[in-house]
Each structure stands twice: as structure tokens, then as C-alpha cells.
């Protein structure tokens, strides 16, 4: 496994662990579904913002740990045009996936589904997009672009 593949695997692992840990915590904090007051939307707004922060912190901690553990490796840490092409292609797919999620979330609202359905769809596609983006990067490193 190359340095770049290891780095991407670490990023994937951090996304999965951050999502799992935060998902468990969020489930415990979940408000009563019987009423959709202002506090409900306040909860979901905060939940998504905190989730973004948690993901950033997890990614930073894992990547710093990875750099420390691989400091003796010969492979350089810079990104070249091959890395940039792979990153660009996978990021594009992440945006595509998020866009599909956004449209589905809007459809859920139009169909008068509960508001939490919309937030769950957004969160799921946001996380799913991130995970698929990392998996795609691994795939492109192995198969080429």
C-alpha cells in the first residue's frame, strides 16, 4: 500500500469513526418526536454544525497521528498532479451525492414527511458522500484515472 493510499485509508477510518461516535451521541440526545417546535430545529441546526466540527477534529487528529507514525518513511508528503486529479474526481462525486441528498430532502418536505426526515437525509448523504469520496480515492489510486 502506497503512502497516498495509507493517507486516504486513515481519512476514511476517521470519517467512519467520527460518524459512528457522533451518531451514538446524537441518538441519545434526540428530542421528543411528538412536537416540532423551534427547539427541534435549533437541535438539528446545532447537530449538523457540531457534526462538521467533530469530523474536522477527528480528521486532524488522525492525520497528525499518521504523519507522526510515518515520519521515517521515504515517501514525500507533497501532493502532485496525479493526487490532484484523483482528489478532483472524487470531490466531484461527493458533491454529486450531496446534491442528490439535498433534492431527496426537499422531496421529503414536499411530500409532507416529518421535518426530521429531511435532516436525517441531509446528514446521511453528507456522511455517505464523504465515505464514498474516500473509497473512490482508494479505487482511483489502485485502478488509475
Amino acid at each position: 500500500m502506497s503512502y497516498q493510499e495509507k493517507r486516504t485509508s486513515i481519512s476514511l477510518l476517521s470519517t467512519i469513526l467520527a460518524t459512528a461516535a457522533y451518531g451514538v451521541w446524537l441518538w441519545q440526545q434526540y428530542p421528543d418526536k411528538s412536537e416540532y417546535s423551534e427547539s427541534f430545529f435549533h437541535f438539528w441546526g446545532g447537530a449538523i454544525l457540531i457534526f462538521i466540527a467533530v469530523q474536522v477534529v477527528f480528521k486532524l487528529v488522525f492525520l497528525i497521528g499518521f504523519i507522526i507514525f510515518t515520519i521515517r518513511e521515504q515517501d514525500p508528503e507533497f501532493t502532485d498532479e496525479f493526487d490532484r486529479v484523483i482528489e478532483m474526481k472524487s470531490t466531484r462525486r461527493v458533491y454529486d451525492i450531496f446534491m442528490v441528498g439535498f433534492v431527496l430532502a426537499m422531496i421529503a418536505l414536499v411530500l409532507k414527511m416529518p421535518p426530521d426526515t429531511m435532516f436525517i437525509i441531509l446528514l446521511a448523504f453528507m456522511t455517505g458522500g464523504g465515505i464514498i469520496g474516500d473509497v473512490l480515492q482508494l479505487y482511483y489510486y489502485r485502478r488509475g484515472v
Binding site: 521515504q74 496525479f82 482511483y140
Partner: protein, 88 residues
């Protein structure tokens, strides 16, 4: 963006480059230059040289010229276009 995702299905055909190369042969002819040495001279990672050698990635024109320059040969000596018979 979303439409292009649906329409341009060819983007999923990864690793189907028709640009062939003689990098391995040229490295051998230049005192068995290692992939890392070539990578250092052209300013990319070894992984990128591996991908180019295995024809999993077609380099940018600039990188192609830099590789040719390291070997001191014209670009077409290093890279050449060879489409499959089916698509030709």
C-alpha cells in the same frame, strides 16, 4: 454537475489510457535509474511514476516534457498514442 454525472458515463472508465510509454525501458538504459530518482528529478511522487509506467495515468503535457527532458530524448520517444483496435 448532476447532469454531467448522469450523461458522461465514460468518466467511470478509469485506467483506460491509450497513451503508451517506454519509461521502464528508458530508465533501464539510463544506468537503471530508479522510479524514485526519476520522480525526484521531475518533481512528482514515486506513486505517480508507478501509475504512469503502468499506464494507469496519462501525465500532463508539462510532466511528459519533463520526463522526456530527463532522458534527453524527444517526447514521442517516451510517449506514443496507441488506441485499441475496437475504438480506432
Amino acid at each position: 454537475m448532476f447532469y454531467s454525472f448522469i450523461i458522461t458515463g465514460e468518466e467511470f472508465e478509469v485506467g483506460k489510457s491509450f497513451v503508451r510509454n517506454n519509461i521502464r525501458k528508458l530508465r533501464f538504459e539510463h544506468q537503471e535509474m530508479t522510479q524514485q530518482e526519476l520522480a525526484d528529478q521531475v518533481g512528482v511522487t514515486r506513486q505517480t511514476i508507478v501509475a504512469i509506467e503502468k499506464e494507469k495515468y496519462s501525465p500532463s503535457l508539462e510532466l511528459a516534457f519533463r520526463i522526456a527532458s530527463v532522458f534527453g530524448v524527444p517526447l514521442e520517444t517516451v510517449f506514443f498514442y496507441e488506441p485499441d483496435n475496437e475504438t480506432a
